[in-house]
Symmetry: C2
Subunit: 377 residues, 2 copies
């Protein structure tokens, strides 16, 4: 999705992809197939570029640093990226900044596990400190023995946090360029399913304006203090009118996809501007409300090809914006998303959910509903 913005801005892109049929490789002309963990591969695409950036945070920092030492501009830089890669370092840094974070502790031994379990009365969330995404690398042990099992069997460094009982999840997104300019988008509500963001609503409905401002300022402060370049998503838990930081992502983020159709400057354009150290664009919304719903694959029905599903969605919902990633159906995989920008939250939510449901299932939600009702009678 960065490529579409790059095209309009006249920015030439070069991609390192693991496989020729990766989403981005389908839409970028200059593709090198390689492994981002192999320094030679990364170096080969970095040569001559005005800036190097990534669409995930798992690039080895020692390689990024080697490139920087060679004079290549790499953004975000390892000193910032570290805090999106290592959850324990992130928690420690955020706590030091005075940012609201849940109680946490490193879990290296069974004794650590038992001690933390007791501190939080068993309200525990265990996380791999590195490598997790979309709910992977996160566990909620139901008993101390389950927690001890994790310590014994999981072979990556762990940490634990107090499990938060939250009212809803928010996401405060900002972008910061190399020169230090920061701009925030309106705070959105994010609805997760199985650890994956499925719905984003911009702006977050009914959010107290004071708290909204607080969230935006928090995200700006984190971007500045952590020296982030590019897009930063601060995922938050809202509980009783207060927030705590859940996760940080240093890249265009699922909760920012709405900006493609609901904002003057999309997160993808903004990320490019930020890493090239161009001034940032206006983050003003272009509609009172924009809803994004992901199309999470699962029930592939090969008898109706994706193109036909798209056409059916377009027929019923001329205002829906369909975005597809060129991926095949697979359980839980994000095939794309739908944005609907309009006056009314109800309409936006209904249309976006309806459209996304059809892309995934090849049937209308209300048809399924009617069928179920008929069965029940």
């Amino acid at each position: 999705m960065m490529q579409t913005e790059a095209i309009e801005l006249g920015i030439e892109t070069r991609l390192l992809a693991r496989e020729p049929d990766a989403s981005a490789a389908q839409v970028i002309a200059d593709v090198r197939i390689g492994d981002y963990t192999n320094f030679g591969d990364v170096e080969s695409i970095a040569k001559g570029a005005d800036a190097v950036t990534f669409d995930h945070e798992h690039v080895p920092n020692e390689h990024a640093q080697l490139l920087i030492d060679e004079g290549v501009v790499v953004e975000p830089r390892p000193n910032a990226l570290l805090y999106a890669q290592d959850k324990l370092k992130q928690r420690r840094r955020l706590k030091a900044l005075g940012a609201p974070v849940p109680e946490f502790a490193p879990i290296n031994t069974e004794a650590d596990a038992e001690a933390f379990w007791n501190v939080v009365n068993g309200e525990v969330c265990v996380k791999a400190t590195r490598g997790g995404y979309d709910g992977h690398g996160v566990w909620f042990p139901a008993s101390i023995s389950e927690m001890l099992d994790l310590v014994r069997t999981v072979d990556v460094p762990l940490m634990a946090e107090r499990k938060i009982g939250f009212d809803r999840e928010l996401s405060a997104m900002v972008a910061r360029n190399r020169s230090g300019e920061v701009r925030a988008w309106p705070v959105v509500e994010s609805r997760q399913e199985g650890g994956v963001c499925r719905v984003a609503i911009a702006p977050a409905p009914g959010l107290d304006p004071e708290l909204a401002r607080e969230c935006e300022q928090l995200a700006c402060r984190i971007a500045e203090e952590l020296d982030v370049t590019g897009v930063l998503a601060v995922e938050l838990f809202e509980t009783d009118g207060r927030v705590q930081v859940n996760e940080l992502a240093m890249r265009p983020h699922n909760t920012g996809h709405w900006t493609q159709d609901g904002c003057v400057t999309s997160q993808f354009e903004q990320h490019l501007r930020a890493v090239l150290d161009w001034p940032l664009g206006a983050t003003t919304p272009t509609a009172p409300v924009t809803v994004m719903v992901n199309t999470l694959g699962g029930e592939a029905r090969p008898e109706m090809p994706v193109a036909q599903r798209v056409a059916e969605v377009m027929r019923r919902h001329p205002q829906a914006k369909v975005h597809l990633y060129g991926k095949d159906f697979r359980a839980g995989r994000k095939l794309g998303h739908i944005n609907v920008a309009t006056e009314s939250l109800d309409e936006a939510l209904t249309v976006a959910e309806d459209a996304a449901h059809f892309i995934v299932h090849g049937t209308w939600r209300d048809a399924a509903h009617t069928a179920n009702n008929a069965k029940g009678e």
Copy 2:
């Protein structure tokens, strides 16, 4: 610009380009270099495509027909395209439909020229019936002898029209899919310079709502009667609250670039949907007013590279949307355009003009103004 929409919709594209550094060839992975007037070249890219379309109207119709005979979907089809290719056929057809067109006549001989000159009292516009664009192939002879010279020296078929004294130019754009669904965008005002569209304002300021509706209906009717598929631009002259058709274009058009940032569905997305026979998208504007200003190259100042100019524009105008075509500066060439979507016409026009001026000249308009004033004092 169609490619950016194709990417988001998951549509795979293949391009026939004359040169590897053509704008579109820079952003499409699957490019064949060839000549659109060579049937073999066109056939080679058409094989296996769901639809074939073009970004200009000069594709030989006999080739398009051959492809259709082979079972390829080509849109728009030759029966429609003909009326965008041949101005005389277009005038005859529009007149037969009762559409408002200026008085016209074919000019094959000097006698034809003299006769028409007398009919319109020397208020003459001479046009090549085929091959013209952006002011090329259009002449305004100041005397009968100049007109006779044209007949003697121009070696393509000519026609003549009564020269229209108009208040302003409008553009009524619609799209029609293969199944016959038609959607109109708001009518825009178009400001030309040297035969090239330089500014478009959507919607056309102060346009009588009755006349706006009339223009939209006229464009819809032309699309239907001419069996157009894809985007159709009907360029109009407005005079004393009435309109006459100036030109037809059957493709995404300069006067529709504003839709990229000011409308739910851009002309580029709509064209793809239309030629694939997908249902059309909503044409609702997303801002009260959107202004597009082309960046027409001319005064290249290589000491400030384009990227730096873009950055300067972004610094001063965070709300300006920059679109570049990957072309080098050259006199009168369109390098790109700026869209500004906002509440106020004045603001949109000022910002878009200012931004476009800087991209082209590398200086601010007001700086030039101030410098001139200083010189004058």
